[in-house]
């Protein structure tokens, strides 16, 4: 049993992890940058260590400082959350060499999925369809052109080390391909320290379906069903739901198939702990493997609500060496859950970030309503990190129930002092196509471009 865990993250996910630790009677250590000294995760943890100034590169990404903090507080394990160092294989190795358990996949699993190109090759070998594209990193313009010619335009150029929806560009013809190829490489070098890019067929208006998996150190892997994350803006997810209305309405048989494909890929990678296997599904029910996210994800609550399983707790137990408590047959999806991410952004001003002091804060409650947040009245949102301040999750006996409840909850949610995307989420909730479950990843752009603006404005 772990006695003490250090949470190498901040914001709502740090709060989430600390809660799971408390429920397991494990003591917690928070690390924080100088601008996060009043953050909720610092207040909730048993101990807190300042690890540097505001910039993440000098605090939350500083492996040396986090390890030092872990040493002076004598922790047994580190939970990396999502983002930051959660998928950094080097960090996982440093932890292990310092006798600190890293709560996540083993270094071996991490390296067999070390980047997107390697993962594609692994999936292909496991017999799972991948979008047609390059076999690995595209080394030069000539190769790029040849690949595009072979698979046909439009194509997508993606950074192998990218993640979180960043580092992707679409090209519709040769000239734009060359331009995008070079820009993507420069951007990738700057953002991820790795200029490698690969090329994939761009599937128009795809549906983003991802499968939650869990693996123990005996090699057993199970999946916990899918999440549909097709509602995105600029490749950033806004709304996630479980189960997927697309699969429910159109492709019921795909659910099992995609789930089994996810498990196959995880087994090929000898995956352990929690992870998510991402697929895109086109309008004809063809599904293609995209990548594996080797961490707990932002939208994990919707899976928790429909399966009744605490994923973060599972992560901790699996890291302790416990075997999986559930077999595949034990996993039952009941009801429907929807999550709306609430960002401190102004939906009326190009979603410009709106950091600052929260004056009044009242979050919704009641039956079937869950709020995962670090926000509180009087909290000052620093400008240095991402703008998500809260996740609102509603659960119902079916999708209609969960939707109506989300409407009700959003209408109660009151935040003043900063701008939030609450009104924008309400507009989506009330859109007839969204309510019918008919949407793809182009939904938000269409909504923003269309006639719904007056509905959004009405809400403020």
């Amino acid at each position: 049993m772990f006695e003490k865990i250090l949470v190498a993250n901040r914001g709502e996910i740090a709060v989430r992890i600390i809660r799971a630790c408390k429920e397991l009677n494990v003591r917690t250590v928070a690390v924080y940058s100088e601008v996060d000294s009043n953050s909720m995760h610092v207040q909730l943890a048993d101990e807190a260590i300042c690890i540097g100034p505001a910039p993440a590169s000098e605090s939350y990404l500083r492996i040396d400082r986090i390890i030092s903090a872990a040493e002076i507080t004598d922790v047994d394990a580190i939970h990396p959350g999502y983002g930051f160092l959660s998928e950094n294989a080097h960090f996982a190795e440093v932890c292990e060499s310092c006798n600190i358990r890293f709560i996540g996949p083993s270094p071996r699993a991490m390296s067999s999925l070390e980047d997107k190109a390697v993962s594609r090759a692994l999936a292909k070998k496991a017999g799972v369809d991948i979008p047609p594209g390059s076999d690995g990193v595209v080394e030069n313009e000539k190769d790029a052109r040849e690949i595009a010619k072979r698979i046909g335009y439009p194509v997508m150029i993606k950074a192998v080390a990218g993640g979180g929806g960043r580092g992707m560009r679409v090209a519709h013809n040769d000239p734009s391909l060359i331009k995008a190829y070079h820009t993507a490489r420069t951007e990738a070098e700057k953002a991820f320290g790795n200029s490698g890019v690969y090329i994939e067929k761009f599937i128009e208006n795809p549906h983003h379906i991802e499968i939650q998996i869990l693996g123990d150190n005996k090699g057993r892997i199970i999946h916990l069903g899918e999440r549909d994350c097709s509602i995105q803006r600029r490749n950033q997810k806004l709304i996630e739901e479980a189960p997927s209305p697309l699969l429910d309405n159109k492709f019921r048989k795909l659910r099992d198939k995609i789930g089994r494909a996810a498990v196959k890929i995880a087994e090929a990678a000898r995956y352990t702990n929690a992870g998510t296997v991402e697929f895109i599904v086109d309008n004809n029910g063809n599904y293609y493997f995209l990548e594996v996210n080797k961490r707990i994800q932002v939208e994990h609550p919707v899976t928790e609500e429909v399966t009744g399983i605490d994923l973060v707790r599972y992560q901790i137990l699996l890291a302790m060496g416990e075997p999986l408590q559930h077999s595949q047959g034990d996993i039952v999806i009941k009801g429907h859950a929807i999550e709306c991410r609430i960002n401190a952004e102004d939906p009326f001003d190009e979603f410009r970030p709106s950091p600052g002091r929260i004056e009044m804060y009242y979050q919704p409650g009641g039956r079937g309503v869950r709020v995962d947040t670090h926000a509180y009245a009087g909290y000052t949102i620093p400008p240095t990190y991402d703008s998500m301040i809260s996740k609102l999750i509603t659960t119902g006996k079916d999708r209609r129930d969960a939707l109506d409840r989300m409407n009700r909850a959003l209408s109660e949610y009151m935040v003043t002092g900063v701008k939030t995307t609450i009104s924008f989420q309400q507009a989506i909730m009330q859109d007839p196509n969204f309510r019918r479950g008919v949407y793809s990843t182009s939904f938000v752009e269409q909504l923003l471009g269309g006639a719904r603006r007056e509905l959004i404005e009405e809400k403020t």
Binding site: S37, N38, Q43, I49, I51, S59, C98, Y376, P382
Partner: protein, 155 residues
């Protein structure tokens, strides 16, 4: 513990130039830390009776940016702050004399302490020319980033 009690304690701290105050009672514990220029303060309250964290009352919340080299207006002293996380040692070995005591003259390059992290001993330089007026951390105690280690009266 009520807000008026906390406010009273803070006033007393200011009046008597106390920088750190901790009180543990039967069912609650509170720790208050004052920044020297009065701008930066942190409050930690652990009330085992109520499990819900109370949002910071406005006068006690810290500003988003800490001043880089806090100088107490009253005494003109500069703090030497920890640039890293680790264990603070005042001497190179248990048998040796301390690098710096109250009254020691230092210049920018003088080593004033060692902070040990991951089995590596890091020499901490003063970076200030002056005289040590206060040693703020006990030998062998853990320190975090930005934690004040010494006070120096600059010359």
């Amino acid at each position: 513990m009520e807000l008026k009690d906390i406010k009273a304690i803070i006033d007393l701290m200011k009046k008597n130039s106390i920088t750190e105050f901790e009180l543990e009672q039967q069912d609650s514990k509170i720790r208050l830390k004052r920044g020297l220029n009065g701008g930066a303060s942190t409050v930690q309250q652990d009330d085992s009776v109520s499990a819900i964290p109370v949002p910071m009352p406005a006068p006690l919340s810290a500003p988003a940016v800490q001043p880089a080299a806090p100088q107490s207006a009253a005494t003109g002293e500069i703090e030497i702050k920890s640039p890293m996380i680790g264990t603070f040692y005042r001497a190179p070995s248990p048998e040796s004399a301390n690098y710096a005591d109250v009254g020691t003259e230092v210049n920018a390059e003088s080593v004033v302490a060692i902070i040990e992290a991951m089995k590596v001993m890091n020499e901490i330089k003063s970076e200030v020319k002056g005289v040590i007026t206060q040693v703020l951390i006990e030998n062998g105690k853990p320190v975090e980033f930005g934690q004040p280690l010494f006070k120096v009266r600059p010359s």
